[in-house]
């Protein structure tokens, strides 16, 4: 089918200020295959892909495409050689005010090869044909800003097709997508593959990797650990290769005694996303709220925390009515939130770990308005040790930590606030397998201390593995409740999508 030697990267090394990020990495992609590139955060996969796409220059090594050696010095070189990327942040690559067709043919319109006049009729017709080939029904005259995130991603893929890509890198493309959207994306990836394109697929979701990939390569500490056909591997092999140790139990569940009700929510509502939610969480209980993307989970978490102000409804923590006017009020009444948008909302990336961890407890660690340096440091070192945050020092800028460790900081800042209820919104997003397990352990320990945990996620497997009770949210409402052991992936998906009038 495809070219056996489409891409050959050999002996690639790269150092950043003396630290080796890649040690003579070897990576090959055949035409017409989907090649998954896996590794924990910091394993070197993004560095390798940035070298392939021309964003970084390798210190050593060669890149051959179809047997020809290519000097990758800039993204333009990579594009000329037929290497394209579909990033998670699709918005940076598209022009929101232009139409779908204009975006698809953006490079052609911008290039000098076309004459001064554009034949719009042809352009639209061509765009329609292309989208139809991909099995898409996006109106070509629609503006990009009116599209959903998944549709934008599709437009980006169509553009890649136009530019005659040989190799397409998908960097965590499924992270923002719902289950159906992901399936759709996979069908398109299969089509690209059938046309002889070599695909590099990066994802933290192993079940997706096994579902779609032909070959799997695992990296760790800047080296290639294994490259095997996917059919010959098991999930446990991959995790073992990624971590360098085996992971006995992906979802550690600590047995706890469940106490009295600590959080009680009645008829909470705002707009169309949260339409009257009732729920209860008891001490020591982990309650998962699952739902597809757009079901209103994030909006619900923000209402509980006072980040947005509810239209109606009440929230009681340990029997006391809590103030929903602001996060300050929510924190005082004992609710804290670990938000989904970690880097924008959970932590301050340009501040030190030390300052991040003390932010909610500034009053506790100061007397007469003066901060106590020793109390602040004591708090930080305690939290760092307890959560196993990997940082060279408490003074390190939080933005330099890996995703998992940033998440631990976002959780850690609440540990000494005496909160009763912890709300987690997609806490494992963009977090590697090892750190994911750490986060599950932390959540379990919090529950064991008698905190109430509300865990909002679109990863059904996590809810099944962790929760004592699962609530299914659909279209702004809680539509179904399952006790631990009652639910399966299938019936969760069934209830999560049932309320939708128009399945996408």
């Amino acid at each position: 089918m495809g070219n056996a030697n489409l891409l050959q990267m050999s002996g690639i090394s790269k150092s950043f200020s003396g630290v080796k990020a890649l040690h003579e990495a070897e990576f090959a992609v055949r035409g017409g295959e989907i090649h998954a590139l896996l590794g924990a955060n910091g394993a070197g996969k993004s560095t390798l892909m940035k070298i392939l796409s021309g964003a970084y220059e390798a210190d050593e090594g060669s890149i051959r495409i179809e047997g020809r050696e290519i000097g990758m010095r800039s993204p333009a070189d990579a594009k000329a050689a037929g290497v394209h990327c579909v990033y998670q942040e699709v918005d940076t690559s598209l022009v929101p005010q232009l139409s779908v067709a204009e975006n698809i043919f953006l490079d052609r319109i911008a290039s000098k090869k076309t004459g001064a006049w554009l034949n719009w009729g042809n352009l639209y017709a061509e765009a329609e044909k292309l989208l139809a080939e991909l099995g898409l029904s996006i109106p070509v005259r629609k503006k990009i800003e009116e599209l959903t995130l998944a549709e934008k991603q599709m437009v980006l893929i169509a553009r890649v097709m136009v530019e005659e890509a040989k190799i397409v890198i998908f960097d965590e493309p499924t992270a923002p997508l719902s289950t159906e959207e992901t399936e759709h994306l996979f069908r398109i990836m299969d089509k690209l593959k059938a046309s002889g394109i070599g695909i590099v697929f990066i994802s933290h979701r192993l079940h997706e990797v096994f579902r779609i990939s032909d070959t799997i390569t695992v990296m760790r500490d800047g080296r290639m650990i294994l490259t095997e056909p996917a059919s010959r591997l098991e999930t446990s092999d991959v995790i073992h290769a990624m971590l360098g140790r085996s992971l006995e139990d992906e979802y550690p569940k600590i047995e706890t005694t469940i106490g009295e009700t600590v959080l009680s929510v009645k008829d909470l509502a705002l707009g169309k996303r949260v339409r009257g939610v009732d729920l209860e969480v008891r001490r020591g209980e982990i309650v998962a709220v699952v739902g597809l993307v757009g079901a209103g989970k994030t909006e619900l978490s923000r209402l509980l925390f006072g980040a947005d102000v509810a239209e109606r409804g009440t929230v009681e923590v340990a029997g006391k009515r809590s103030d929903l006017g602001s996060p300050t009020g929510a924190i005082e009444s004992g609710i804290v939130l670990v938000p989904e948008e970690r880097r924008k909302e959970g932590i301050l990336v340009k501040e030190s770990v030390l300052h991040n961890l003390s932010l909610p407890i500034l009053r506790q660690i100061s007397s007469w308005g003066f901060l106590s340096g020793s109390r602040e440091k004591g708090n930080a070192s305690g939290v760092i040790e307890r959560l196993g945050i990997k940082t060279p020092s408490a003074g390190q800028l939080t933005g330099y930590l890996s995703g998992g460790n940033q998440q631990k900081v976002a959780i850690g800042k609440w540990l000494n606030t005496n909160a009763d209820v912890f709300v987690f919104d997609e806490p494992t997003k963009g977090v590697d397998v090892g750190a994911k397990r750490d986060i599950f352990v932390i959540i379990g320990e919090l529950a064991a201390q008698g905190k109430g945990i509300l865990y909002l996620t679109c990863e059904f497997a996590e809810a099944l593995g962790l929760a004592d009770r699962i609530l299914v949210m659909c279209d702004g409402r809680i539509v179904k409740q399952f006790l631990r052991g009652e639910a399966t992936q299938e019936n969760l998906l069934y209830f999560a999508s049932a309320g939708q009038e128009e399945p996408a």
Binding site: A307, I347, L359, S366, F370
Partner: protein, 328 residues
Amino acid sequence: MKNKLMQFSFKYGALIFIGVILLFFSLYNEFFFTYGNLTDILRSISIVTFIAIGVTISLTVDGFDLSVGSTVSLSTVVTATMMVWFEMPLVVVLVVPLVVGALVGLLNSLLIVKIRIPDLLATLAVMYIISGVHKTYTKGYAIYSHMQRTDGTKAPGEMYKDFLWIGQGKLLGIPFPVILMVIAVVAVHLFFKYTRWGRQMIMTGGNEEAARLSGLRVKRVRTYAYIASGVLASIGGILFAARVGSGQIDAGAPLLMEAVAAVFVGYSVLGAGRPNVIGTFVGAVLIGVLVNGLTMLHVEYYVNDIVKGAVLVLALAVTFINMHRKRT
């Protein structure tokens, strides 16, 4: 190698630049590096330093305050009229302009924090409003002792001696405004480093949403920052009136530029990359030294604006080049 050089120059560039300029002027003119001239320089920058500290505080919460210049003008004439027109006791003379400065800050925060007008636009508008207010208040005349009034009478009061001492007097051989300036720089530095409120301002400026979701009352914090900025500008105005012994129209207008330049020079002092009061002070010194030295070189005063503008551009260039370098 190139990288290290960049890092070094970002960290120490501003300090080395000041050193080189000091050395140059000292060699060029024997009177430059004398106690008298150096204290002169410090006295000349004391007013702009107060204003620049205000700008530093508003920038710390990620808000720009363009209105500080006209706040200086307003507080200068208010201070002078308190004595010349109304013959108020000294306490009132000092407190009223501070209240006026706080009110301007409150107006700014109302527009920016409550109504959510972008900071530059809101304070630009307020800058013109306050500028108009201070001219309307004095009917466009400068305020001086026993001034002639429009109705033909003479104003009853004069600028108090005690008041003028604030701007012109010396304590232990050091000009009093210099002492005030040093106290203010140290106090604000300690405020940001060691107090809860200072930390709240820094964190709010770092990422307002993340700070809000960590429980800070960010609107309140930002409001306080703008009020502090207004009050510091009015202190600058009081010092100005005490220094020149009258209430000049538009006294503060040229000071905005100098203050902003000082703050951005401060960004690059020791590689801070963010507003910091020690850096601001260094920036004010740099500008003071340049202006003083150029005067000694007999460069005409109207060239000074070019020099100040160039210093601002240089400081901005260093800051932004470094910011983008970090990002990639």
